[in-house]
Amino acid sequence: MNEPEKKTEYDVIIIGGGATGAGTARDCALRGLKVLLIERHDIATGATGRNHGLLHSGARYAVTDQESAQECIKENMILKKIARHCVEETDGFFLTLPEDDLGYQAKFVESCRAAGIDAKIVDPEEALRLEPSANPDIIGAVRVPDGSVDPFRLTSANIIDAKLHGARILVYHELVDFIFEADRMTGVKVLDHVSGEISSYYARFIVNAGGIWGAGIAKKAGATVNMFPAKGSLLIFGHRVNNIVLNRCRKPANADILVPGDTICVIGTTSTRVPYDEIDDMRVTPDEVDLLLSEGMKLSPQLAVTRIIRAYAGVRPLVAMDDDPSGRNISRGIVLLDHEERDGIKGFITITGGKLMTYRLMAEWTTDLICRKLGIDKPCVTATLPLPGSRSDRMEDISGKISSVHLNPVKASVGRHGDLAGQIAHKDDYDLSLVCECEDVSVGEVSYAIDNLDVNNLVDLRRRTRVGMGTCQGELCACRAAGMLAHAKECARDARKDLVNFMNERWKGMYPVSWGETLRENEYTLWVYAGVCGLTAEKSEKDSKVPETKED
């Protein structure tokens, strides 16, 4: 590759398209910076897309970590305003079971209040009336302002706004190397996974927002960030069992949160340290499934008999404090590293640690640092400026405005895209016909996503629309969506390969819980795709050996 002599193209290059990277891109763009974001897969493929989707009130951290709790409740209230279409205000209960110490409740409530979290003790009977799926044996309940958040939507909305403010987003672009001029980092060499070409981009500042992968990115720059990957596994149930988030009122432990998110609910998580070289291949083990199910049943006995559609795992980016290389002193808080000060690498910043809940604050800190260094005096507005999709006043009216016919695919699309659903064509029967029947995703919505939301393949499409996320896990929708992608990209061969990949990726998540109805569903799917339609992988890949897919 020829490296043309280029001047600085961008003010900031952000590496990583998770919530933090997307949020930083938005904040930088809103403050007038010229931004490029590169992401080696799709947006929200790392820890961003592989957690509970819990809009923490902070209550979980109140007793053990006041600082995190305070950050959470502040961001919780901000997200309820700026990202309404990504958030559902379900509230949450912290339940005390007979085996738990009811004495903890008083300390818990006191700590919540100290952090500014509105925690109310609720009579167990009243709690059961409000959330009938909760364990009937509870001896105590505290109500807190937990909620659920859709991380794909949240990341996508940040990306959309960043683009609206001039940012450039390159997905499927992987960092190959950094470019230095003397002691200053000036650019990145990037591999385009679609075209196979390597290009160079230059900027005044380069932000490492790679989450757990940030350690590897920093290493390429010659800096050391000590990360301790902690795997967390979760189970997705086929439909909502609860409508209020259920937590255990005790010291945070395994499998003690049940979150209703969109059409499903999720129990999690486990926590296991994993070696750094395994972070690209997370699999849920039978022991983890056992643990999640047996603990989950204590929150809601209904889980014992509710169909599990998937299992998935993510990796928390836990960062060791700089003064403690042993890793015992782990911070769950935000870690912002100015590598100029720390390692003498000018123009390089790492933002890591933190949580999905604090992505906006992480972006704010990062952007503040860049602006300070650039001498730009522009305040952060992301705490008050609603994201695209959440700009209309009353969400309930939107579907009425968009279509006089109150059809479910229209309602569902408003739920997913907020006021941006107005851009979805729902003119005729064809637009309104369903691609995904479980999640009510219409042809119009899929077309909108393909045309506007950087969709390269079926897995990307799933993150934008929920195609294939329902009970049937792609059985009916995958071939329809593949057909639409083939049409849009004018390549049936790629679409066919993509379809195989997608179905295998779906199976990867079903495999750890493949019994009962989930197994029947998969057998039927296999029969339709392989048996009737003759779909096979081009190489002799068996179902149990799924190709590397990075996400669930």
Partner: protein, 415 residues
């Protein structure tokens, strides 16, 4: 590792593996594009409704509640029940005056029978039909079932009650609104046949409408009251008097056996196994060698049998057809499994008329091509629909038996 042994959810909606065979078998889907079909309206919609009630779709009212989806489902999902339960739970449409009139079969019936000749001729008048069509939205093409001038119950009290205790065996008869108000002859035929088989026929003592029309018109509280009342009577009959309960209407039978517990939450488990459809009961007696049938030598009929949807769901069509085939001199044709389209009060509603007739068309065409002497079916509303839509007369299997049996010889054989 531990695996879940089973998945339990309301009406088994989690058992759905999205094979979509229910939608293929739905009689409404091919003729009404406004209806999303049983899969969408049922298990798929249920997930969305569990997320938020706003996903309830009023188009669920187009469901006939024929339960053909449930018969087709290989996974045991109670799709029809999911749809009807959703209507009960979410629909904010209160029943119109028309719906209340159509649903209140026993109230309207008891009033109409008093002035039956007048009512019958008035509802046939064109101007009246036009008013009912325009104001009430009851389709003008519909012929209203005639009301009898004397109810079955009053016939029974006058002509039958006194002799019933003299029989060896006994049963309670759930006659239903249709027999009582519109067509006492079927009830009379039933008493004749059962008496000949050595069974005394007793009334339940104040049965109320089974409630099927109340359910389909959204009058759930009234339906629940009727259900609780009737189950009380069934218990009295089955548990105290040891009389099984037998009905001639397949829809009444289906409603009291299955809709009570599934849709209305009225527990009938202690009596359910002792509630029978007449043909099922009679066939059982023959099969166990408890009764003998002596047929007339001179009987001859070309019969085409139509299985009502709810009988299809009960799985008991075989008993009616087997009984018909037993009769010497009967030429039997089995009609294809199709819905006639009326679905109780559904087809009476102006907005459903076209759909109703379109659904029934394959059945009507087949009947016309066979041209039987008589169509036989166990359901009264199927009878109205077929008689209105074809030139053929429709009879109940019990009435066919009453015609074909040598009642005196049968009675002698079972004494």
């Amino acid at each position: 590792m531990k695996m879940q042994e089973n998945n339990i959810s309301a009406n088994g909606f989690e058992q759905c593996i999205k094979c979509t065979v229910c939608t293929v078998y739905c009689p409404v889907v091919p003729v009404n594009p406004l209806y999303p079909g049983p899969k969408q309206a049922g298990p798929d919609g249920e997930r969305l409704r569990l997320k938020k009630g706003v996903f309830f779709d009023e188009s669920l009212k187009y469901c006939l509640n024929c339960k053909r989806c449930e018969v087709a489902c290989p996974s045991g999902v109670r799709i029809g029940d999911i749809i009807q339960s959703a209507r009960i739970k979410y629909s904010r449409h209160s029943p119109s005056l028309r719906d209340m009139i159509l649903a209140s079969t026993d109230l309207v019936g008891s009033t109409a029978t008093i002035a039956a000749p007048i009512v019958n001729s008035v509802v046939r008048l064109k101007p009246v039909k036009a008013v009912m069509d325009g104001v009430m939205k009851i389709d003008k093409h519909r012929t209203f079932p005639e009301y009898a001038s004397r109810t079955f119950e009053s016939w029974y009290r006058k002509h039958a009650r006194a002799s019933q205790d003299g029989y060896r065996n006994h049963l309670s008869y759930f006659h239903g609104c249709y027999v009582n108000y519109n067509f006492p002859k079927l009830g009379i035929d039933f008493v004749k046949v059962m008496n000949a088989l050595g069974y005394g026929v007793h009334l339940l003592g104040g049965e109320k409408c089974c409630g099927v029309a109340l359910i389909s018109n959204g009058m759930i509280n009234s339906a629940k009251k009727n259900a609780a009342h009737n189950v009380g009577l069934f218990k009295e009959s089955v548990e105290n008097r040891k009389y099984p309960v037998v009905a001639t209407s397949s829809t009444c039978t289906f409603t009291v056996r299955d809709e009570y517990p599934h849709l209305l939450g009225v527990d009938n488990s202690s009596v359910r196994d002792n509630i029978f459809l007449a043909t099922r009961f009679i066939y059982g007696l023959i099969d166990e060698g408890k009764v003998k049938l002596v047929f007339r030598k001179d009987y001859g009929r070309k019969i085409a049998y139509h299985t009502p949807c709810h009988l299809e769901k009960l799985g008991w069509g075989i008993f009616s057809t087997s009984l018909m085939k037993m009769i010497p001199g009967v030429t039997f044709s089995m009609l294809d499994s199709n819905c006639c389209g009326i679905a109780g009060t559904y087809g009476f509603k102006k907005e459903n008329y076209q759909v109703s007739q379109a659904i029934g068309k394959p059945l009507f065409d087949q009947i016309c091509s066979i041209a039987p002497d008589v169509v036989v079916t166990d359901c009264e509303t199927c009878k109205w629909q077929i008689e209105m839509s074809t030139p053929f007369k429709v009879m109940h299997p019990v009435s066919i038996l009453a015609e074909a049996l040598d009642l005196e010889a049968t009675a002698a054989a079972n004494r």
